[in-house]
């Protein structure tokens, strides 16, 4: 018995060595995953997320100032300034949208800031009644950026919009409503920014140190919200407006984001570029450690068989060109160029397979948002 022992051991070891050398013939070039998850979280947290919240907080403060000036002295100039400030806020929102976890999740940021399309009849009813509740359970469709978009941009001309705040019936209530919606956006933006900063709860520190892959870890939050954020574009920015959910084949151009200000298409483009940059860990044009590098390290260790990062990045290029082919403005293109909007939608859909299936598998993250037993 004892005689065989060394032989079996040696055989086993040989077998193990044999198998590990086999893997080098496949995609694997390394014998381990050479990646520092915490370094990636540091890059994404410090160089991408935190500056995005800081920027969102700044633009909303500027928006608040502009709106206050406009409501105190509604002129053509103060209206134009408020409108520009809102457009800038929209663009800064795009950058924080994929991060609905931690402080943002606590205040339900997405629902409160950008639940679109807005229900303009509810907005008008509130103004006509002279009373409203912006904190109620069902208030998200009459507040946030979509409500501001309606309030500041709906009208045949600048004069008509201005008149609604000066000479029209309920002008005072309208000013007050605009004011309160803006204040809420600003307050929420500041709250979340503060929670991320070391003046507040220093969630940035938690984000960086919360390594691992289980539900609730930073990686799991990132990957899950990457998907959820991306699906906002797939479904709400494009899918629903072009009628993919309508059995009658109707299109809903008014359901696009920022319909009244007419920046739907630039926002969608910005969102998609932003998602790609997040995937690459890119901040201000500088490529840092991102999900792509993590996936590369996993690929190099032979843990996955295809070059997934390359596949995802090349699909992003297909998406960008398909979206760039849509003529401005988006709501009109939906009606007049359905082939172009459909083609863009199909390219956007084609990425789903990789980010919802291959990427979570490679990173060992569950797409499920909840803590649950497995077996």
């Amino acid at each position: 018995m004892n005689l065989y022992k060394p032989y079996t051991l040696a055989l086993l070891l040989l077998a193990l060595l044999g198998f590990s050398s086999c893997t080098e013939e496949g995609p694997g070039e390394t014998d381990e995953v050479n990646f520092d998850q915490q370094a990636m979280l540091t890059n994404i947290g410090q160089n991408i997320i935190f500056p995005a919240y800081a920027n969102f907080s700044t633009t909303t403060s500027l928006l608040e100032e502009a709106i206050h000036e406009f409501t105190e002295q509604p002129t053509a100039a103060s209206l134009a300034a408020a409108q520009d400030a809102l457009k800038a806020t929209y663009h800064s929102w795009i950058r924080v949208e994929p991060f609905e976890f931690g402080p943002a999740m606590e205040v339900n940021l997405r629902m409160n800031i950008n639940h679109f399309p807005t229900d303009f009849s509810e907005v008008e009813e509130s103004i006509a009644a002279g009373s409203w509740d912006l904190n109620g359970l069902y208030s998200s469709n009459k507040k946030g950026l979509p409500a501001l978009d309606y309030l500041l941009f709906s009208g045949a001309s600048q004069e008509e919009i201005l008149a609604a705040y000066t000479t029209a019936e309920n002008a005072e209530a309208r000013r007050q409503y605009l004011h309160e919606v803006t204040d809420q956006v600003t307050t929420l933006a500041n709250e979340v920014y503060t929670a991320w900063s070391d003046n507040g709860e220093n969630y940035l520190g938690d984000f960086i140190s919360n390594t691992g892959t289980e539900a609730g870890t930073s990686l799991s939050n990132l990957v899950n919200q990457f998907n959820q954020g991306y699906e906002i574009t797939k479904n709400k920015r494009l899918g629903i407006p072009i009628g993919v959910n309508s059995m009658k084949g109707d299109v809903f151009p008014r359901a696009t984001e920022a319909f009244y200000s007419g920046i739907s298409l630039p926002l969608m483009q910005a969102h998609l570029l932003n998602m790609e940059a997040l995937f690459k860990g890119e901040a201000n044009g500088t490529d840092g450690l991102g999900l792509d590098d993590y996936i590369d390290a996993i690929y190099e260790a032979g843990n996955i068989q295809d070059d997934l990062s390359a596949t995802i990045l090349s699909q992003f290029q297909n998406i960008h060109s398909a979206v760039a082919a849509i003529p401005e403005p988006l709501p009109e293109a939906i009606v007049n160029n359905p082939d172009k909007t459909r083609a863009a939608y199909d390219e956007i859909v084609a990425l789903m397979q990789y980010i919802k299936t291959d990427m979570p598998s490679a990173l060992s993250v569950n797409i499920s948002y909840v803590d649950n037993d497995g077996d």
Binding site: F35, A215, M247, T357, D358, S361, N372, D373, D375
Partner: protein, 456 residues
């Protein structure tokens, strides 16, 4: 006494059975409390608007809020009853029924260890585990037995042995042994752990864990059976399950197994364990030198063939996959109820399209309008669930006034580090397919597929 009857009819001391009852009841009590405390009763049984049922059990429906909480509260009471051996003949079947009822509500909650719990609680219904060291004995001293036929203990050893051995057999597949999948994916993500962490992203470590895991599962039942190997084997049990508990989110299962396998230890060990418990409980009424009393089963003629059938089923059912073509991990035909534990990394993404045949127009369905993220995730990789949901959608749109709506799906599945590929045949109208035990030829074959779905 012949070999087989030695394991069935020989009189053995009841202590191991009593200890097993206490452990199992206690673990179940803890599990039920944990389940409720995590908010899973509401999350899994109250919030979803749609439930995936098991074949033949579509009549099982969740109760309302009050009903579900009452079920779980009663389950906790029943588990306590099992642990204490109080009204055991009532609470053991009660626990089995309630637990199994809850498991039958929604397939997406299926876990092998829930199945294991159902089976053990069923077996507990036919053994006199309450006739020693129990409140029933104190309540009614005539119940007390000191000896039982060996089968009352050995059925649990056999059941545990089957779980391990079949889990080991399931690991004997090319992905596990030759690719170290899915462990190389899962382990490399765990480098943040203390001690083991720095080694877990090494490929050889994944091979080591895969091979030693398979070896462990296949050998442990036998090593536990023999006295000479029992102690080191039990150390391996503890080590193995602690490692799995640290590495994977598998809840109570490791602890249930660690404590359950104590059953393999000797009568003397269990008697000492009970007297230790007595001393802790300061139970004054320790009956000394009680005359030996032997338990006689009420209906041995009925029980023997039933148990025989039960174990025949246990031994054969996991092999049903062999009757189907294509890769088991891909089709999952014969995957459940077979102790295939932590065996594959499979992720999917599925979109359904409902078409009005009258107009040719179709809609894309938003799964999340009907399903929780967990349900959606589980459905995306399991064909029978995909079919159930497709049928639900057909009924849903029929109710909206569309005559004979057609349901198709575009779905992708990634398996053990391979790139995702088309799963369900996108051409097939799923509303016309009936679920049965035949091969699901509406799935695309595992091998050689184009990566893209084409136009929708």
């Amino acid at each position: 006494m012949s070999g087989l009857s030695r394991h069935i009819t020989r009189q053995v001391h009841i202590a191991p059975l009593a200890v097993f009852r206490i452990i199992f009841g206690g673990m179940m009590l803890a599990s039920v409390i944990r389940f409720m405390a995590k908010g899973w009763v509401s999350q899994l049984y109250l919030e979803p608007g749609f439930f995936f049922t098991y074949y033949g059990f579509s009549w099982v429906k969740p109760l309302g809020t009050l009903g579900m909480y009452l079920v779980f509260a009663t389950m906790a009471v029943a588990a306590t009853g099992i642990m204490l051996g109080l009204f055991y003949r009532l609470v053991a079947p009660l626990f089995f029924l309630l637990f199994t009822y809850v498991e039958l509500i929604d397939v997406t909650n299926y876990l092998n260890h829930y199945y294991f719990v159902s089976l053990v609680s069923l077996l507990l219904c036919v053994v006199p585990a309450h006739r020693y060291f129990s409140l029933d004995v104190r309540r009614k001293p005539s119940l007390r037995c000191t000896h039982v036929p060996a089968w009352t203990i050995n059925i649990f050893k056999l059941q545990l042995g089957i779980v391990y051995f079949y889990a080991g057999l399931a690991k004997l597949n090319p992905d596990w042994l030759l690719e170290a999948q899915p462990l190389r994916l899962w382990l490399s993500a765990k480098t943040g752990l203390p001690l083991l962490g720095p080694y877990l992203d090494k490929v050889w470590v994944a091979y080591f864990f895969s091979w030693s895991g398979a070896l462990y599962d296949l050998s442990i039942p036998f090593l536990l059976l023999y006295k000479r190997t029992r102690l080191p084997a039990y150390a391996a049990v503890i080590g193995f399950h602690i490692v799995t508990a640290v590495l994977f989110p598998i809840g109570m299962f490791p602890y249930i197994m660690i404590l359950s396998t104590l059953l393999f230890f000797s009568e003397g060990f269990h008697q000492r364990l009970l007297s230790l418990l007595r001393r802790i409980g300061r139970s004054a009424a320790v009956p000394q030198n009680i005359p030996q009393r032997v338990f006689k089963p009420a209906a041995p003629r009925l029980l023997a063939p039933l148990l025989g059938l039960y174990f025949l089923f246990q031994l054969l059912f996991p092999f049903r996959f062999a009757a189907y073509p294509d890769k088991l991990f891909w089709t999952e035909q014969g995957y459940r109820f077979s102790w295939r534990v932590m065996l594959m990394e499979k992720a999917g993404h599925i979109t359904f399209f409902v078409q009005d045949p009258a107009t040719g127009r179709q809609v894309e369905v938003m799964n999340h309008h009907y399903l929780t993220p967990q349900q959606e995730k589980m459905m995306a990789t399991q064909p029978d669930l995909i079919l159930q949901f497709a049928h639900f959608l057909a009924a849903e749109y029929e109710a909206k006034g569309i005559e004979a709506p057609e349901v198709r799906a575009r779905s992708y599945v990634s398996l053990n580090g391979r790139p995702s590929r088309l799963y369900v045949n996108p051409e097939v109208d799923l509303s016309k397919i009936t679920d049965n035990f035949a091969h699901k030829n509406w799935l695309l074959p595992y091998e050689q597929q184009p990566r893209h779905a084409g136009n929708f």
